[in-house]
Symmetry: C2
Subunit: 192 residues, 2 copies
Amino acid sequence: MKHSLQPKPVLLPSPVLIVGTYNSDGKPNMMNAAWGGIVSSNPPCISVSLREATLSYHNIKKTEAFTINIPSEKFFIEADFVGMVSGRDHDKFSETNLTPEKSKLINAPIVKEFPYSLECELIKQVELGSHTMFIGEIVGIIADSEILTPNKLPDIEKVRPMLWGSFGSNAYYNIGTKLGNSFTVGNELQRS
Amino acid sequence: MKHSLQPKPVLLPSPVLIVGTYNSDGKPNMMNAAWGGIVSSNPPCISVSLREATLSYHNIKKTEAFTINIPSEKFFIEADFVGMVSGRDHDKFSETNLTPEKSKLINAPIVKEFPYSLECELIKQVELGSHTMFIGEIVGIIADSEILTPNKLPDIEKVRPMLWGSFGSNAYYNIGTKLGNSFTVGNELQRS
C-alpha cells in the first residue's frame, strides 16, 4: 500500500562528500556534505550545496575553489566527525590525523589518505533557500594508483566508498555486491 | 602513490535516478539518470541533469514537472533498460512490465512497483554545456508502507536501493552493511 509522505530531501543512496577548502588565513579545512552530485559531463561538473552558517561556504565564496574527497569506508568515523564540528574552533585535519595536500591546479587542499579527490573550480552559484549550490568544474582528479582500473579510472571495488542512508536510518553503509554491468543487463528486455 | 587523472565526472557512489515524465501526447515515459542529487533542504530540492537529445529533457521543459523514482536492487535490469532506449520508439513502461501511476500533486507519473518516488515541481534550470540541470522542488513523496521507518521515512535497509559504480566499473551494486550512525560515531574523535 502506498503512503503520501511529507516532502523531505530523501535520496537513497546519498553520497558522502568531504569538501576541502582553505580558510581566509590559509589553514586547510574540510566538511562532510551529502547534498551534491554530478551535474554535467562536458565540462565535467559537480555540485555541492552548503548553508551560509558553515565556514566552508565562506571559504568557497572567497577562494572560488574546492575539492571533493571521497572517503573509503574505513574512514567513516573521520568523515562523520568533520561534519559535526566547525573549522572555526577545530583543526579538523590534525584532530583526525588526516593530511592536507595543496592541489597543484586549484586553491584547495586534498585529503591525502582518501582514495581519490576531485579538484574543482567554482563556476556558478545558485541560491536555493536554506542552501547555496556551488557548481564546480572538475579540472583534475588526484587518485591513489592502487584504486585505478586498467584505463585509469577509480574502481568502486577498490575505492570501497561509503554512503549515507539519509534521514530514515541516519547511518552510513558500505557498498555490497555487483548486480550487473550497466548499458548491458538491460539488453535482456530488448525486443528481438 | 598519487596519480593525476584526466578530469572526468566520477562520483562514487552515483545514484540511480529513474526520471518519470509525460510525453506531449500524454504517454508516460521514464529514463535512467545518474547526474543528480539533493541540492537544498528547505525547500527540499533535487537536481537531475539531462542532455537535450533525450525525450525526458523536452518533457520536463513542457510539463515543468518530473518524478524521481528509486528502484530497489531487484529492478536493476529494468533500470538499465530504460537508460538504453528512447521513449521516442519504445513504450518503456509496457516493455518493462512496470506500472505508471499519475501523481496527485504534479503532472508526472510515478513507477508503482518501486519502493518510493519523489514528486518534483520544476523551479529552476541551469545550462551547463552538455547537460541542463533541472532543479525540482520535492512537493511530496509516495512510498510503500513496508519500507518506512517508525517515523515515516524511507528506510535504506528496506528500500534496498541500487547504485552505479560510474565509468570505472560500469556496473550496478547494492548496498552492503551498516558502518555506524551518522552524527554519532564522530564523537569518538571529540576532544574530552
